[in-house]
């Protein structure tokens, strides 16, 4: 049990929420742009963890993607939230807010 381990577990758990948040805000997001935003927010993750997560969310019906032409290279895959994806995100976000409040309350009162 190390701090590093616990911390990376936390990050991993919240990654899904953050990705959905980014896609929600951008309407349509290209994976590399998602990575860019995560890095900008200092939420450091191994880049490779993003792709299985996106695919899993897609298979669960939360995301869909479309191919779009790009000026600089081959066509790109853009991810967007489906209807159930938006609902899922909304409820995830609500439970995160509650959790956040609860954790702050518990740890700050000490």
């Amino acid at each position: 049990m190390t701090i590093d381990n616990t911390e990376s577990q936390m990050r991993k758990g919240l990654l899904e929420l953050c990705i959905l948040g980014i896609i929600q805000r951008e309407k349509e997001a290209y994976p590399s742009d998602i990575l860019g935003e995560l890095k900008e927010a200092k939420l450091v993750v191994l880049e490779g963890t993003l792709y299985p997560l996106l695919t899993r969310l897609k298979n669960a019906g939360m995301l869909s993607y479309t191919w779009k032409e790009s000026l600089t290279g081959p066509p790109r895959k853009y991810y967007a939230l489906t209807e159930s994806g938006s609902e899922f995100y909304a409820s995830l976000r609500a439970s995160w807010n509650e959790l956040n409040k609860a954790v702050n309350f518990l740890t700050e009162s000490l």
């Binding site: 990376s8 880049e47 695919t55 290279g73 895959k77």
Partner: protein
């Protein structure tokens, strides 16, 4: 000399050195195995290949003639080891997230580090020639004099002792500290370079002590006169 080959990753043509290509191929193969049971495996691999191509293109646009091994290693570090990436429901708390930034190399370093068991070491703190005998004495926890006498007998009777001693001197590493010596838990497996290095060190030390001894003898005799 490196052969440069052209590969097509996710629709981009990339020039890459041959050995870099081999390690890239290895990485992708392990990834494929890792995600083999995952639904949508092809999507994942496709996305990852696409990202790899993108990162390579950044390099190529920087006027690099071809992707080499260090570029591939950097990409692997950025994307992560296959074992770090697969965090599906199947193996929740296995090794998957212990070291997010570990590379193939550090796995090897770890292996070396675990190489600690009882070891025979030469004793540099009590030696006549190379500290072989007193090292053996520490190992078996007996008086070094006994080992030395035995060795002298072997020297005289068969001459085998001489070669045995020289070989032991070369092959057995010296203890780096008293602690190491008595715990017999020193460091790494011996490599050829270690041996070469050790021999050089020992020869230097022997020369120094030989000079000391001849000086002492000279002093001794000049005093007598």
């Amino acid at each position: 000399m490196q052969r440069i080959i052209q590969i097509n990753i996710a629709g981009r043509i990339i020039p890459i050195e041959e050995d870099a290509y081999i390690s890239l191929k290895e990485y992708l193969n392990t990834l494929e195995k890792q995600f083999a049971k995952e639904e949508g495996k092809n999507d994942i691999i496709q996305d990852i290949e696409n990202r790899i191509a993108e990162l390579f293109m950044l390099r190529i646009n920087n006027n690099v003639p071809a992707i080499d091994r260090s570029d591939v290693q950097k990409v692997i570090d950025t994307l992560g080891n296959p074992s770090d990436l697969h965090d599906g429901p199947k193996n929740e708390n296995s090794t998957s997230n212990e070291q997010p930034s570990s590379t193939y190399q550090s796995a090897w370093e770890k292996r070396d580090f675990q190489y600690t068991h009882q070891r025979l070491l030469r004793n540099p703190y009590d030696k006549v020639l190379g500290g072989v005998c007193s090292g053996i004495a520490v190992y078996f926890d007996i008086d070094p004099i006994i080992i030395r006498l035995l060795m002298v007998v072997l020297f005289l009777t068969f001459g085998i002792g001489f070669f045995t001693y020289i070989i032991c001197w070369i092959v057995i590493p010296a203890a780096k500290s008293r602690e190491d010596l008595y715990n017999m838990t020193a460091g790494n497996p011996v490599t050829f370079n270690d041996i070469k290095h050790n021999v050089e060190l020992e020869l230097k030390d022997l020369k120094r002590r030989g000079e000391e001894m001849s000086r002492d003898l000279k002093d001794f005799f000049s005093k007598k006169k």
